[in-house]
Symmetry: C2
Subunit: 217 residues, 2 copies
């Protein structure tokens, strides 16, 4: 049985290992979990003892099969609960993440499966992220950062990178949601900010923003 804290570290390591970075370092984990690096070292020892991760300096932290299974189940629960909150309880995009962070830790044998069935086997959560299946399969969707699009390109939002309330509220303000169509009208070389057209409205967004939105096409 894992503690809530352990589960959060596993989830963080999983998330980081999905990213492009070459290795999952203590520092990167510290940033993700929002704790001091010294705390991460302690937890790395603990998770290694429990055979949930391996850790070597050059290689960084890696989930064992057991650890990956656990992490996937947490991600699965998180995303299923998000669907529940969004579709059934009618919470908005920017409210569900925080609650799902709590709900993902609810322990019960087949909770994820029951929830999955009740929600009619959704494939994606409300932020566009794929929901891992019971057997551990985890569909990768082809997506690219908005920042990589060129002037004149048009694309559709498929997922977002950040789930902070600030960011989600900003998206709402820009009328951007999953499936929104975005056309790149201009790119300012000076700071890589973009001028985009969404639902007939022109907006200027920063590079940081463009690095937080995934699109397809």
């Amino acid at each position: 049985m894992e503690t809530l804290t352990e589960e959060n570290y596993l989830k963080a390591i999983f998330k980081l290992s999905q990213s492009d970075a070459d290795k999952v370092s203590p520092t990167s984990i510290a940033e993700e979990v929002e704790v001091n690096a010294a705390s991460v070292i302690d937890m790395i020892k603990k998770l290694r003892e429990k055979d949930l991760i391996t850790y070597e300096k050059k290689i960084g932290a890696e989930l064992t099969l057991k650890g990956r299974k656990l992490a996937l189940n947490i991600v699965r629960k998180h995303r299923l609960w998000e669907v529940f909150l969004y579709e059934k309880l009618k919470y908005s995009w920017d409210e569900i993440h925080e609650m799902a962070e709590q709900l993902e830790h609810i322990q019960h044998d087949d909770l994820a499966d029951r929830l999955d069935e009740f929600l009619n086997f959704p494939k994606f959560d409300p932020h566009g992220d794929p929901i891992p299946k019971a057997n551990g399969s985890f569909p990768k969707i082809s997506k690219v950062l908005l920042s990589q699009k060129q002037i004149g390109d048009d694309c559709r939002v498929v997922a977002i990178k950040d789930t902070s309330p600030d960011f989600l509220q900003y998206l709402k303000q820009l009328s951007i949601e999953i499936e929104s169509k975005i056309i790149i009208k201009d790119r300012i070389a000076f700071d890589n900010s973009l001028v985009i057209l969404v639902k007939g409205n022109l907006s200027s967004v920063s590079e940081k923003f463009a690095n937080s939105v995934f699109v397809k096409q």
Copy 2:
């Protein structure tokens, strides 16, 4: 903001204050929360500091208005989640309690209200216990222990006192659920055990059992 542990103590104090006992003593809390009495003393200090309870030796612990409000909200969430698990996810009577113990601590402003609406404003949880309303009102239903019924009486199960898996599984085995009709066929003076008729089957049950089932009529 209260910790999970504080919430569990508040819930326990609330539960004990609803019972017939004259006061809520450290020992009774210790038993309810399943910790050592010394730990209770520490927590009493903490909850008193936070103005959630009062405590005097002769009088025992009592919830303040603020504490009662919090406790009621936890009970409300617990029972609403039980309805959700039972009706929507099709979990059985004896599986829902443990999960609801976790779900009751999910924090969000209007979660209880959204859930209430989604479940169509249920008045009772699957164990027959009333669900507190948003305004804090808490319907008392007239119920009596099965052990107080006489030979020849017939009655209906309205609630149960114990929620341990052992007990709930025993109920299932006896085909007893909320609304089940029970007829008292005999009472053995020696040990106060009862012979009861449920759905055409005669069973003999102990006094302890009869003290854990609430009936009406």
